[in-house]
């Protein structure tokens, strides 16, 4: 028999749909379509290819900007965490960049570089980068000096030290930065697309807003929530399991 605990997530989802359905029927308004109507719009979007196209474009921007931000952020974070002088010098820069509103960076990037793809990517990267740097810097500060001394004493090469001593200790911080990064970047990308691109989810949502098409907005929203869940289940969770297999 399946245990109640396993059924609970499914039941809660059903309850959510039931409440939504009840409200939609009761209000009978175009601004709150029923789940069925949203599913229909979603299906039409899939059949026409519009939804996968815009979702794909946004996903591509996500992958590119996320990769750049994570790679740069990890490298800079490790350097700042290991070098007190550089950290003291750049700390103020970080605070400044952390506190610039996302909208300001996006507008400035478009004004300075034009309404082009690279400006869009740059705007997302600049928004995400300081977060990654700060998280990885904190992680680097907590590195176990005893293990680093052991590596030095046994003449580990730089690469060996990075891969076998430093990286496994940073892993929880990298995963933290990845999860918070995905959530943040999604949101910023939509604004970037809304303001200056002619495709992608943000652009589509803007269009639906002008048409007051709430069913369209909800259909696209659920599509990308589903994609993020898939990334979590298919990529992040297995990575977590693999890297934590040594724990008791």
């Amino acid at each position: 028999m399946i245990s109640l605990k396993k059924l609970l997530p499914g039941l809660s989802l059903l309850a959510f749909l039931a409440v939504w359905q009840g409200l939609a029927v009761y209000l009978n308004s175009t601004t709150l379509p029923t789940p069925e109507k949203v599913a229909e719009v979603f299906w039409q979007g899939c059949v026409s290819g519009q939804l996968p196209f815009h979702l794909g474009v946004t996903l591509l921007r996500l992958v590119v900007s996320f990769s750049i931000a994570m790679l740069l952020g990890c490298a800079i974070g490790i350097v700042l965490g290991r070098n007190k002088k550089l950290d003291a010098f750049f700390d103020n820069w970080l605070v400044i960049f952390l506190n610039i509103p996302a909208l300001v960076t996006i507008i400035l990037c478009y004004v300075w570089f034009g309404l082009v793809e690279s400006a869009a990517i740059l705007a997302v990267v600049i928004n995400k980068l300081p977060n990654v740097i700060v998280t990885i810097r904190e992680g680097t500060r907590t590195l176990d000096q005893d293990l680093l001394d052991m590596a030095r004493c046994y003449h580990f090469s730089r690469r060996k030290t990075l891969v076998h001593v430093i990286w496994p200790q940073l892993h929880p911080f990298v995963m933290g930065a990845t999860r918070s990064g995905l959530a943040l970047i999604w949101k910023i990308i939509l604004v970037v697309e809304l303001l200056g691109r002619s495709n992608g989810m943000g652009y589509q949502l803007h269009l639906f807003f002008q048409l007051f098409d709430v069913a369209g907005i909800l259909a696209y929203t659920f599509a990308f929530v589903a994609v993020i869940q898939l990334i979590e289940l298919m990529i992040l969770k297995p990575l977590d399991r693999k890297s934590q297999r040594w724990r008791r």
Binding site: R152, Y154, F156, W246
Partner: protein, 246 residues
């Protein structure tokens, strides 16, 4: 194997807060013959770990020099720390392999695992090992790099007596097969007598040599507790300066 000479003029720790400079080591001259097992005995806080860290090249902030043979080169070091310092995310075998840089590691590691009775545990992660087993892995890693000098910093501390005795015997057996120069730090005089060719007694900071004593008990009789105890009593009777240290 190489002769090693240590000549440290001074090692000071900078002032922290209200406390002034701390002179940890002053005019320390030691030399070790190839293949010699030397125990450094001294009160806790006298700077024994500092000395090992200097020899290992982990602490370069001192006046003096470390000479291996005739060359002014860094000796190849095997360091068995007080805490085993294994990488928890690598298996026992991987932990040992990482210390080696050649690809014929099996030929080196397998006999060592067998000697330390760890062949069964080679693919286990360190968190699943007992402290005694972790210490043995750390000893294997030290021997595996074929060091000029093996540094051991109270490697049997906080083990229960039977386990400590077992690991000590395994260590001695291994060392007799592979006689590396060993510097073994301890504050347990019985342990030192059971292991060493020579005992070096060190003073409280600033560290200096108080006396050096050759252990005359033959190796074959070292397992005899009475022989160890009578040697210890004899030491106390003949060298009153040692008694104050321990």
């Amino acid at each position: 194997m190489t002769h090693i000479r240590i000549d440290i003029h001074s090692k000071t720790y900078p002032a922290v807060g209200q406390a002034g400079h701390h002179l940890a080591i002053a005019n320390l001259n030691l030399s070790f013959k190839a293949g010699e097992f030397v125990c450094l005995v001294g009160p806790s806080g006298c700077g024994k770990t500092t000395l090992l860290n200097i020899i290992a090249g982990l602490d370069n902030d001192y006046q003096g020099e470390i000479l291996v043979g005739q060359q002014h080169t860094r000796p190849k070091i095997g360091y068995i720390f007080q805490n085993p310092r294994l990488l928890p995310w690598r298996t026992v075998r991987e932990n040992i392999e990482l210390a080696l840089d050649n690809h014929q590691s099996s030929a080196i590691i397998d006999p060592l695992l067998e000697a330390m009775q760890l062949t069964q545990a080679q693919n286990v992660y360190p968190e699943r090992l007992s402290l005694g087993m972790s210490r043995r892995v750390s000893i294997i890693r030290g021997f595996a790099v074929d060091p000029d000098v093996l540094l051991m910093d109270e490697p049997f501390v906080s083990l229960d007596a039977p386990t400590a005795r077992q690991v000590r015997e395994l260590l001695l057996k291994l060392w007799q097969q592979r006689p590396h120069t060993v510097l073994f730090v301890t504050h347990d005089l019985r342990e030192a007598i059971a292991l060493a060719d020579r005992l070096i007694f060190l003073s409280a900071a600033p560290m200096a040599v108080i006396s050096e004593i050759i252990v005359t008990i033959p190796r074959a009789e070292r397992h005899n507790e009475d022989a160890i105890e009578s040697f210890r009593q004899q030491l106390f009777n003949e060298h009153s300066e040692i008694k104050q240290l321990l």
